[in-house]
Subunit: 238 residues, 2 copies
Amino acid sequence: MNKIPIIEIFGPTIQGEGMVAGQKTMFVRTAGCDYSCNWCDSAFTWNHYMQSEIKQMTAIEIYNELKNIGGDCFSHVTITGGNPALLKDLEYFVDLLKENEIKISLETQGSKWQGWMLKIDEITLSPKPPSSGMKLDLDKFDMIINNLSKNNVSIKIVIFNDIDFDFSIEIYRRYKGIPFYLQTGNEYINETNNLILTQKLVEKYTWLIDKAINNEEMKDIKILPQIHTLVWGNKRGV
Amino acid sequence: MNKIPIIEIFGPTIQGEGMVAGQKTMFVRTAGCDYSCNWCDSAFTWNHYMQSEIKQMTAIEIYNELKNIGGDCFSHVTITGGNPALLKDLEYFVDLLKENEIKISLETQGSKWQGWMLKIDEITLSPKPPSSGMKLDLDKFDMIINNLSKNNVSIKIVIFNDIDFDFSIEIYRRYKGIPFYLQTGNEYINETNNLILTQKLVEKYTWLIDKAINNEEMKDIKILPQIHTLVWGNKRGV
């Protein structure tokens, strides 16, 4: 069976972001990304220092590891990265979860298409704003949104500054009707004092709320913090 | 036109709880409640000290006030209390919002039924756990859940202690398939230092997450904090 590059498997815990915020879930984080965002909080999925941490695993091995650590405590799995949409062979794993009646969420930036995305229960597409240093391919993003028009899909944009916010207005306008989430970015990924981190994140979140609630164009939106960072700080694997 | 007792109207802001967490919304808070929960964070809606704050308003007056303070910045209104489901005449207001293409959320404990609840876009029923000192009428709750079976309804339970958690398991079991939210209670409604409050709330939230993620029965649930309390503390009107 084909192998999938995995950087971490953990849970059960809660999903801290977007349309499934608060959901009790297991996480499967794939290695590799076609992006390298300036502020990536999971750079260990793509920077070369972490190559030795990557495990090549079959779908069954991943599933067994989930059962091994999650036992009988879960019915939901989140696939995130990196960019899982780089991996055609994730289809085997997606099918295996479906066979076992496990709900699946996917997190991806919307730069790549895979047929298995149609089988996902909850899809978060997170186009990266200008502060990432990445450039969104709008034609490709249009195609992906169209392909998923009958699925449970949402758009989530992480906001670091005013320019990112302006970008989010353009995306909101272009994809009106798709559930739309704004989220504060975490600029403080090296902050180890959780109390200071929480204070800074709450301040940033308040800034984003103020901008969004006073905007006349973006009416039907949700504005969320990264809940897990408020709770666990910059710790990995929670 | 019949008048509705209103204790506050504010926004735009974000919804801090449950199925619509993060939603940009206006709030309309009705006065009066059939409950008097020990830890109620909106006791000003029902305790007699606040009688003088209640305004009797027609549907049109409420709508005009929303436009007056929210301008053209909103397309979503949350009706909360107190218990709005005490008020038959809210139907006029609900119809007026619908005519103006405004989405409506309702927050109620599930102790009273009103026909206009069928017109609400997102309904949160929050049966009160034992720590509230209230007793849930399960037959009535069954009836309300049945009436709303084709609507976008969720159950949210606020948890203060182990006994509340056990109660939430019973409710989860009884209404399987209904989107289910656990939320930490705020025991610190007199805490004015926001930093201390945030710390305490995060600790409590971590406690609830730990209990919930290790429970084998409650698999498909969302566990959320009161986001607005993390941001604004115990301040009213935000």
